[in-house]
Amino acid sequence: MSRMNMIQAINSAHDVIMEKDPSVVVLGQDVGYFGGVFRCTDGLQKKYGEHRVIDAPIAEGGIVGVAIGLGVNGLRPVAEIQFADYIYPGFDQIVSELSRLRYRSAGEFFSPVTIRTPCGGGIRGGQTHSQSPEGIFTHISGIKTVMVSNPYDAKGLLISAIESDDPVVFFEPKRIYNGPFDGDPDKPSVSWASHPRGEVPEGYYTVPLGKADIVEQGDDLTIITYGTIVHVAQAAAKLAGVNAEIIDLRTLMPLDVETIRKSVEKTGRALVAHEATRFCGYGAELVATVQEECFWHLEAPIERVTGWDTPYPHAFEWQYFPVQKRLAAGIRKVMEAA
């Protein structure tokens, strides 16, 4: 075991899987010589060579398209899109090609591409460096979607994603690369050094795709969330003085419905939270799922706390971000109802 932040854990995942499987190749802007703008691929090119860690032109559509071709030729590509905000030029290749190759060819062709991309706000990135577009990807049939919340999961899930024969879009909330963030921007930032999930095995292990994690056991209500908001929810539950069961979904598609169902059946109350915009956001699917699965166990309407339906503003970051205060208000609302 070793202490790692999320960047080191992601780097270690690459290292472990590249050592184990010579067909794994990494490509993306600045990933090679420089090691990535967030340093997630630092040192990999030196260790595995320029033919396996490849600096790419600034063309996200090209990166995804070429990665598909590499995958069809028997390699296992890991493509980095530098910011989730810049993934859109690659969107057609993801939606129309990557996600449907297996289906349209009746299993004859597939391409096991993993697309890693830093997402989310809380870093003063304004509307072009703060987006959480996961809901756009979970809506596509044929790709798996992950958003991680801590170093341990990040490494284990990334290895699973790379080993999976299905394409995976892997979101890394950049606000928590260096430490958990509890949603209070006035507090000094903390590192992963004292967090239990900052303890990461150095070697190979996996965290399975499609399995949620219960990060807090509780009876009062269930908070269903993922990414940075997992940490905010933990702090907000304390602030609101409730004994919340907090589910970190980790994989958004396929969704671990069973874990949600069991929890909400127990607590009878649910709050859904994410950073992304609300309308047709991923939370809407979660609310529908809880309604379908647990309606007769519900004691209160399901509450949603999300980013507002505006672009991500630079000046009003903390009014936009679902901070502790907003989550705590949502929790109180669910608890007070009925």
Binding site: G65, V66, I68, G69, D92, Q93, R102, G107, E108, V257
Partner: protein, 414 residues
């Protein structure tokens, strides 16, 4: 005060009711374009993008340095594949007209592209075709029955009913699955080629798209990546003059040939008579050899003419002169190869008629067999369970539930 609008709106030389005019097509005499050595530096090859490589002249002689000197057997084989492709198209178009298949796209007039180019590659080379490359599938051993079953979405459909007609695939023989999204296959070919180079394998990838599709971003991504990594890939632009109703000027063809699109990146381009099988073979072989020996990518523009409609969903008499194909200066690729072989004494009109009859019968028999495996409207039908398979490597719970939900309401169909 505002002036008159001065935006340039491209216009084709002729619209319905007007005299066809191909004066805009720059032609070179057969045999007149120099053939450089395969390892010539890209900077010395710019002329290839401007001229028009032709081997067969108007009198059906093979001329000049690009003559691939294929023997009579090989040329007859090419003629047979082209004839078979046309017979297949003819039948399938008719079946669409009779409502037996929902849609069809014929390659009439462009057969030398798939056959001539396809013959220039090795079996291990990977093909990433567009929707008008049916000849490539036929050439690479895809059975007519198999292809028909795909068009019928029946119980033997290679795509299990997931794709509309003509979206074939042949993994065993290295032909990729077709997409309806234009140009998306171009970066796949480049990625595949990069993969071959990473693995140290001397295999080449090749991909096709139309003049209209060169406007897509994927075309430019692919060229950039191919240039940056010197990928062993042959990229082909089939300039058949028309993208449904818009002529090639709407993709920028009025200014420079499509073959010149790569020059700024240092990717050599060759403009070739796409209706001259010998020339299509020769330039493709040159480009494939160059790629295989580490010389990197080549962009080939095949100048041809779309003899039929874009697909069964449009009526070309609404947007171009009816007799335009007849006026096309590069003629009909099948007829030209046939006349060349006749002139050489390797073929005859009688032999050709017999061949056409043989293929008509072959296609008719294939159709009879194909429909015996069902059609969209006549049993046997595909099992509806298949709808949920192959979305992922393993079926996740939510799809199992949806599958059950469907079966509860409709029951299993087959």
């Amino acid at each position: 005060m505002s002036e008159k609008p001065y935006l340039h709106i491209p216009h084709p030389a002729a619209r319905p009711g007007e005299e066809p005019d191909f004066g805009y097509l720059k032609l070179s005499a057969a045999g007149s374009v120099k053939r450089p050595a395969v390892d010539t530096r890209a900077s010395r090859l710019d002329y290839l993008a401007q001229g028009l490589v032709r081997v067969l002249d108007d009198d059906h002689n093979a001329l000049g340095p690009w003559d691939p000197k294929l023997d009579a057997e090989k040329l007859t084989e090419a003629l047979k594949y082209m004839t078979l492709t046309r017979a297949y198209d003819e039948r399938m178009l008719r079946m669409q007209r009779q409502g037996k298949v929902t849609f069809y796209i014929q390659s009439l007039g462009e057969e030398a592209v798939s056959i001539g180019q396809g013959m220039a590659f090795e079996a291990e080379d990977m093909m990433f075709p567009a929707y008008r490359n049916q000849g490539l599938y036929i050439l690479r051993g895809t059975g007519l029955v198999e292809m028909m079953c795909q068009c019928l979405s029946n119980t033997r459909d290679m795509c299990k009913g997931r794709q509309m007609p003509i979206f074939y695939q042949n993994r065993k023989n290295n032909v990729f699955t077709i997409s309806g999204n234009l140009a998306t296959q171009y970066p796949h070919a480049v990625g595949w080629a990069m993969g071959a180079a990473i693995k140290g394998e001397r295999h080449v990838a090749s991909s096709w798209l139309g003049d209209g599709s060169t406007a897509e971003a994927d075309f430019h991504y692919a060229l950039t990546f191919a240039a940056v990594y010197n990928a062993p890939v042959v990229l082909n632009v089939v300039n058949n003059q028309w993208a449904i109703s818009t002529f090639q000027g709407f993709a920028g063809g009025e200014r420079r040939p499509f073959a010149a699109r790569g020059l700024g990146l240092g990717v050599p381009g060759i403009r070739v008579d796409g209706n001259d099988l010998l020339a299509t073979y020769a330039v493709t072989k040159w480009a494939a050899d160059r790629a295989r020996s580490g010389g990197g990518p080549t962009l080939i523009e095949l100048v041809t003419y779309r003899g039929g409609a874009h697909s069964t969903s449009d009526d070309p008499s609404r947007y171009r002169p009816k007799e335009e194909w007849q006026a096309f200066p590069l003629g009909d690729p099948l007829e030209r190869l046939k006349q060349h072989l006749i002139k050489q004494g390797h073929w005859s009109g009688d032999q050709h008629e017999a061949l056409e009859q043989e293929y008509r019968t072959k296609v008719t028999e294939a159709w009879k067999e194909a429909v015996s495996y069902g059609t969209l409207t006549e049993p046997p039908f595909l099992n509806v369970d298949l709808m949920f398979e192959d979305v992922f490597a393993e079926m996740p719970d939510h799809l199992k539930r949806q599958q059950q939900e469907l079966l509860d309401i409709f029951g299993a169909s087959s």
